[in-house]
């Protein structure tokens, strides 16, 4: 670990002068009672601007982004983030507008958001969208709260949500936050939702069935129409985790499959940057009958123009303090305007093409778990190799490839028997040449694994720190029969 900024502190140094000569030295003890005032220094570091810049420049170099190379992190969709969006999202009329300005002073903002919601609706086949949710998981929660409000408005109490066992961890967690009990639906040997299990689980306690389609196993639910029928016959609603919408654009729409609610992840489908972990944005779309329940405000249009409507008695309320992640949404809007309908369709086509290409090229050494055509990501197994998927993935780091998604090292949870699976999502922005280079590296690691498994198990060997075992994944730790040495308390824990 590099010296922290605290280690560099030289008390009494400040950045470039901040004083306002018109006010001079001000003394807070004149304004606040002594018992309110701090009696000791806070302890913040004090450095000059050059020290600040060198410290954070060096840290910024010690990270790995899409701009640095391959990032086939399955289900996370690390595609290229267009540079042109940045200055546009930073335009003064967006970046420096205060959320409490009178609505009449932000007509350009409302117009943009209104149209963006329309585009999302057209893409997904839903009727209305809220752009308020802060991230995909927040969008899931929004959808579930809307479903809940709808049942309540009809005087019905249903307290179960059915979720695929391969779902993103956010799905059951969101259901739980919305006050639902979760029941898991088993995956068939083909990787699809088990229709029998689903039908058996459907009773009048089930408020909703939540599916990811294509699933987190990279497969399209062939029976989706039948599933939707059964769910609706049961009086339940069908909610889509739209995280994988990036493989469907212009080809098929969740709304047309029978989903009543879905959330989108702007970074996965609309190329907003992931920013080391966020902020993201998770717009939530609903069919018309659920529209009254959308969170406030809803952007509407009338004769005078576009405006945020808060006068919505059936609304669930607010999911966050203001309208949404405006400067993230602007990037998604720009992406749609740049791409157009054919461009977006090509995005999905190429995402699927790339995943199948990687699957086909690697399958002799890393066989696909489910075989057949995959969608935008492929699930390959290291079971044939004498090393675990975890070890395999860590070795890829030495070759400048970001590891694929694994249990405990990504946002997808695989059922137990898939612990040796890697979910690989190349994304449409990788060229064939780039895929070939990446495939070459996978193959090299596969060869090394048979020739010198110890080399793989102790990788990475080329980074400033060696292999770090995951803290939360007991399964993975058991698999390696290694204990994580001396887990320290989290960083904020100041001794």
């Amino acid at each position: 670990m590099k010296q922290t900024i605290f280690d560099l502190s030289r008390p009494g140094v400040s950045g470039a002068g901040l004083q306002d000569p018109d006010f001079g030295e001000l003394d807070p003890s004149r304004w606040f009672d002594a018992e309110l005032l701090r009696t000791e220094l806070i302890g913040l570091p004090e450095v000059s601007e050059i020290e600040l810049v060198r410290h954070y420049t060096a840290l910024g170099h010690r990270a790995y982004g899409v701009d640095d190379g391959s990032y086939p992190l399955g289900s996370c969709t690390m595609k290229y983030n267009p540079k042109r969006h940045e200055p546009l999202a930073n335009l003064s009329g967006f970046a420096h507008a205060h959320p409490r300005q009178p609505a009449s002073t932000l007509p350009g903002l409302w117009e943009l958001l209104f149209h963006l919601a329309e585009y999302f609706a057209e893409l997904s086949g839903m009727d209305h969208f809220t752009l308020q949710p802060a991230a995909g998981a927040h969008g899931e929660l929004t959808g579930l709260m809307i479903i809940r409000a709808w049942f309540e408005s009809r005087g019905m109490k249903r307290d179960v949500v059915l979720v695929q066992d391969s779902a993103h961890g956010t799905n059951p967690a969101s259901a739980s936050m919305a006050g639902y009990r979760c029941k898991m639906i088993r995956t068939t040997p083909e990787g699809l939702t088990d229709l029998g299990t689903l039908e058996a689980a459907l009773d009048d306690s089930v408020a909703a069935v939540m599916l990811t389609n294509p699933s987190t196993l990279g497969l399209f639910e062939k029976n989706i129409r039948k599933i939707a029928e059964r769910v609706h016959e049961n009086g339940s609603l069908l909610i889509c985790d739209g995280a994988n919408m990036n493989s469907l654009m212009g080809i098929v729409r969740p709304g047309d499959m029978g989903f009543d609610v879905l959330q989108l992840n702007t970074h996965k489908t609309f190329s907003t940057p992931h920013l080391s972990g966020g902020p993201g944005s998770g717009p939530c779309g609903v069919k018309a009958f659920l529209e009254p329940f959308l969170p406030i405000p809803v952007i509407r249009r009338d004769a005078r123009g576009y405006f945020p409507d808060e006068d919505r008695p059936q609304s669930i309320g607010r999911m966050k303090s203001f309208y949404g992640h405006v400067r993230v949404l602007i990037r998604a809007y720009c992406y749609i305007l740049t791409s157009g309908s054919r461009g977006l369709r090509t995005v999905s086509e190429n995402a699927v093409l790339n995943a199948n290409y990687v699957q086909a090229r690697l399958s002799p050494y890393l066989p696909p778990v489910f075989g057949g055509t995959c969608m935008h990501e492929c699930l390959l197994s290291t079971a044939k190799l004498p090393v675990s998927a975890f070890d395999f993935a860590k070795r890829l780091i030495d070759y400048g490839v970001h590891p694929p998604t694994l249990v405990g090292a990504g946002c997808v949870y695989f059922p137990g028997h898939l612990r040796d699976a890697m979910l690989i999502e190349p994304t449409e922005t990788e060229t064939r040449e780039s895929l070939d280079r990446m495939i070459e590296k996978f193959l090299r690691v596969a060869q090394e694994a048979t020739e010198d498994p110890e080399l793989i198990r102790t990788a990475p060997h080329t980074r400033e720190v060696g292999k770090i075992l995951p803290s939360g994944s007991h399964r993975s730790q058991r698999a390696h029969e290694q204990k994580r040495p001396a887990l320290e308390p989290p960083g904020a824990d100041v001794p």
């Binding site: 605290f6 008390p11 910024g60 059951p172 080391s276 824990d493």
Partner: protein, 455 residues
């Protein structure tokens, strides 16, 4: 002249038609349609999407500049808006350092070996906010101040096994809405505790009375929605007495000068982190700050960066305590947090480091000092009175001798956002970026407008 192959229509697709053909061949397929064979025909879209025609980059720029140009902003108008979100100066170095390409385009640091740099910035953020809040554990961000308050309320419920949440009635109205919605989901109840009509502060007797039934937590916002600084020790004493956790939601700039809530008895501190180097952004993205006592760590939502060791025993940083999180514990997780506001937390860390101890104190002092300067001038206007007697920081509520909405409209015509209406009062915020000339000008406009509107 030699002809080019057909150009690609879309900007971010990298394959030429020939590349696609060759790749399909390698797959033994003949057309792109074959790739989508798992999708039943009957659900497919049989038309093109109805979206605007593709814009080239300069057409896009003109369009966005036109939209942005129709918005007013704190750059086009003189603004005294606050209410949880404040117009602070952001040193350019914050933008510069956070726009490093890797920090912009990296994923959540699930792979610590590749991510020591960004983990360290988050680690430093956690430590800085720990120092500011006076509590030992800080997570590496939630969505915003309102959701942080709501998530923290649930933490308290989990820790205490109770579902009843008391909250000050003087929380920003939007935040109340979020809190209620989150608690409704999990079957919790929110009960508001009234304020004292004279001081504007929480009424301790009301709080005492609200504790007649056990509660998981009491949530106090300071400064409150009238701009009044609350009495944290008084609330802490009552909470302790009733074995409830005290959550203090505060404006982080106050933490530069005032005692940290953790020191005064708060078990949980939440903030809207926007004032720490984040642009106003017309509503978002912002930053949810969450700090707590060590014993509450197990109940905390969100990511935590901590010190670990690699397999060689060398110190390193990584996400820790992931067993609380959805990717491990699923429906039993403390929260569904996945994507958070990591980049905003980095901004806050670099903002605080750029100002440093005395720089941060200087900014906070100017906020409070300049607010007092304007406050005094406005109280000199006939008919203008303070709405409450309690102490304020940099935002204050005034009783006007005229209709607040009409006044605001008149001021808007002069290109001034004069504040906003709370409980029929005018709430006015002042920050360090206002010059004496601007404050003098504003005071004159206030006087003139109020004078014209009469009584």
């Amino acid at each position: 002249m030699e002809r080019h192959p057909e150009p690609l229509v879309c900007g971010y697709n990298v394959h030429r038609e020939a590349d696609r053909k060759a790749m399909l061949e390698a797959l033994g397929l003949t057309s792109i349609a074959d790739l989508f064979s798992p999708i039943p025909q009957e659900v497919r879209l049989d038309r093109e999407l109805r979206l605007p025609a593709p814009h080239n980059e300069w057409a896009l720029g003109k369009h966005l500049r036109e939209l942005a140009g129709r918005n007013a902003s704190t750059r086009s108008h003189l603004s005294f808006l606050g209410g949880g979100i404040y117009e602070h100066h952001i040193p350019a170095v914050v933008d510069s350092l956070t726009s490093s390409e890797a920090l912009l385009t990296a994923y959540t640091p699930y792979q610590p070996e590749l991510s020591q740099g960004l983990l360290q910035i988050l680690f430093e953020y956690q430590r800085m906010l720990s120092l500011l809040s006076g509590l030992r554990v800080v997570n590496s961000s939630l969505y915003d101040g309102a959701t942080a308050m709501a998530e923290a309320a649930w933490m308290a419920c989990s820790a205490t096994g109770r579902r009843r949440v008391l909250a000050s009635s003087r929380i920003w109205p939007e935040w109340k809405s979020v809190l209620e919605l989150y608690m409704r989901g999990r079957g919790g109840e929110v009960v508001y505790v009234a304020a004292d009509p004279i001081s504007g502060r929480l009424d301790p007797r009301s709080l005492q009375a609200s504790f007649a039934r056990p509660a998981a937590t009491f949530i106090l916002q300071t400064p409150n929605s009238l701009g009044i600084l609350e009495d944290i020790p008084a609330a802490a004493a009552l909470c302790r007495q009733h074995e409830a956790l005290l959550q203090v939601s505060c404006y982080p700039m106050t933490l530069a000068l005032l005692k940290p809530p953790g020191e005064l008895g708060a078990d949980i501190v939440t903030c809207e982190g926007q004032p720490l180097g984040l642009p106003l952004s017309a509503g978002g993205p912002y930053l949810g700050v969450l700090a707590c006592e060590k014993r509450l760590r197990e109940f905390m939502p969100g990511r935590l960066v901590g010190e670990v060791r690699d397999i060689h025993g060398k110190p390193a940083l990584a996400l820790v305590l992931e067993r609380r999180e959805q990717q491990v514990s699923r429906e039993k997780a403390t929260s569904n947090m996945c994507t958070n506001q990591a980049h905003q937390a980095m901004r806050a860390a670099i903002y605080l480091a750029a100002l440093g101890e005395r720089g941060f104190r200087e900014i906070a002092t100017q906020c409070a000092g300049k607010a007092r300067y304007l406050h005094e001038k406005l109280l000199a206007i006939p008919g203008v009175e303070p709405a409450a007697t309690g102490p304020f920081f940099n935002e204050f509520a005034l009783r006007l001798p005229c209709s607040v909405p009409v006044f605001l409209e008149r001021m808007l015509e002069r290109r001034v956002f004069a504040g906003f209406e709370v409980e029929e009062h005018l709430l006015v915020a002042v920050t360090e970026v206002k010059t004496r000339a601007e404050l003098d000008e504003a005071a004159a406009l206030f006087a003139e407008t109020i004078g014209a509107l009469g009584r």
